[in-house]
Symmetry: C2
Subunit: 281 residues, 2 copies
């Protein structure tokens, strides 16, 4: 098998494996009371696999009001309006992309919401991208800052193992990205974000991608176990709705992923899976 085909296979298989692990852990935290419901989708309206597709898994439970895990492997030709705007598409419109995307909105306002995404893209060039960020209800409370510190420490570890200085860079990238300019507010307490990652050492980059996924579920599991015990009141719930309204504004007004998905006529339910189960303005 050609190296590139082997890499594609390794990536899409990894994303599926990680999806299974995340769904299993999240279901475990639900203590078996709620299950993920899976739904496959294909890009081709005629139902063939000639353009790829994906699988969406959604759980609506007691601990997690809404947890969504998407995997997809899509390929074909990028649309005219995107040609030249994505690296390696100046002279060819062929692309291949595989990835996983997770958004979790817990019921308790004391458990932070979380997002994680990793992907591998091939055009005439190829690169990894991804990241994760944490959104506690209260962005200033001692409890939230403590959880965020733990989250960041784990991220710092894998980033610095991958490449010295990368944590600071990816953290800033995350802060710059998950930001609501119209409110002059951050979306949450950050994390890491990176794109166009290609160090010319594919194995190393792929290994980092896998570590991002594993660190995500390990860290978040600890955070949930820890924050699940905390009591909350009506004020906390109100603030959670407020935080979620900002989350919605970010995802619909600013998120590149949402824009890209809608422009490329992706699966609407999968693209908007990130939106909170309940909110208000």
């Amino acid at each position: 098998m050609k190296k590139i085909e082997e890499n594609k296979k390794l990536c899409s298989e990894w994303f599926e494996l990680l999806r299974n692990r995340i769904c299993q852990e999240i279901q475990g935290l639900e203590e078996g009371k709620s299950k993920f419901i899976k739904k496959k989708w294909l890009r081709d309206p005629n139902g063939s696999n000639r353009m790829g597709g994906g699988e969406m898994s959604v759980l609506r439970g007691n601990t997690f009001e809404k947890a969504g895990v998407n995997i997809s492997t899509v390929f074909g030709k990028i649309s005219k309006n995107l040609k030249g705007k994505i690296p390696g598409t100046e002279h060819s419109n062929k692309f291949w992309a595989s990835g996983i995307s997770v958004v979790i909105h817990p019921f308790s306002p004391k458990i932070p919401a979380v997002h994680m995404n990793t992907r591998y893209i091939i055009t005439k060039e190829s690169w990894f991208g991804g990241g994760m960020d944490i959104t506690p209800t209260n962005l200033k409370s001692k409890e939230s800052l403590k959880l965020a510190k733990f989250f960041h420490r784990n991220l710092e570890k894998i980033c610095e193992e991958y490449r010295k200085g990368s944590y600071k860079k990816y953290k800033k990238w995350c802060d710059d990205y998950f930001y609501l300019p119209h409110r002059d507010e951050p979306r949450g307490l950050g994390g890491i974000f990176y794109d166009y990652l290609n160090s010319k050492n594919w194995e190393n980059d792929f290994n980092f991608t896998r570590k991002v996924g594993k660190t995500f579920i390990d860290s978040y599991k600890s955070i949930v176990v820890d924050s699940k015990k905390s009591k909350w009141n009506e004020e906390d719930k109100k603030l959670q709705f407020h935080r979620r309204s900002r989350y919605t504004e970010f995802n619909l007004l600013h998120d590149r992923g949402t824009k890209f998905g809608l422009q490329t006529k992706g699966n609407i339910d999968a693209i908007l899976m990130s939106l909170p189960p309940s909110t208000g303005w």
Copy 2:
């Protein structure tokens, strides 16, 4: 006083008068239990009136979970990125704009949500714009269709009085505008929408604008009195949340008013006043 200055004054005074009338009627339907809370804002961050401003009125009540009425009169120079994109700004960046905007989200899923907006804009050219549309929870029920029919009949009357054939045109404009392309769904059951209205008979155009405002509150009041009595159940409430999620998607992803407001650094709370008080995905 120069004719143009007189027209500006007539318009901004009318919008204020209409605002008072709408707030009074809505408060009346609340049976005095909830009141509008008013909040003035200025465009100039230094707090002067050199760029204009507005007043936002919001009521959170029993019949109306959220009712917002904005008036504003703003002026100055349009930003570089808008120059030439708005009629009459090819050779000058001066503008003046005054308007009223109303969005009402009732608590009962049996009472339709409604939106109305009218405005007068002056650049090197000048024109009126506006419209209104109705969004019942259930877009297909007999009750909803009956209420929408009444709403449309009143609109047809004033449009046809203003100019033969305009109802059909403005109705189509509304259907085309309040549409979610990513869902291939209408936002609601329509109404009218018009822009760049200048028949060279200012008094006639202004008179039409006033009729739009008056017809709006008269029609909606009847609709509320009529639909308020209807019993509803959990299924209706669920569908209302669903409808509101689509409303939010439209306003954040597609609405020109939202985009224009954010691009021109308008008042964020006023721009996003239209978003529903409670919803979910």
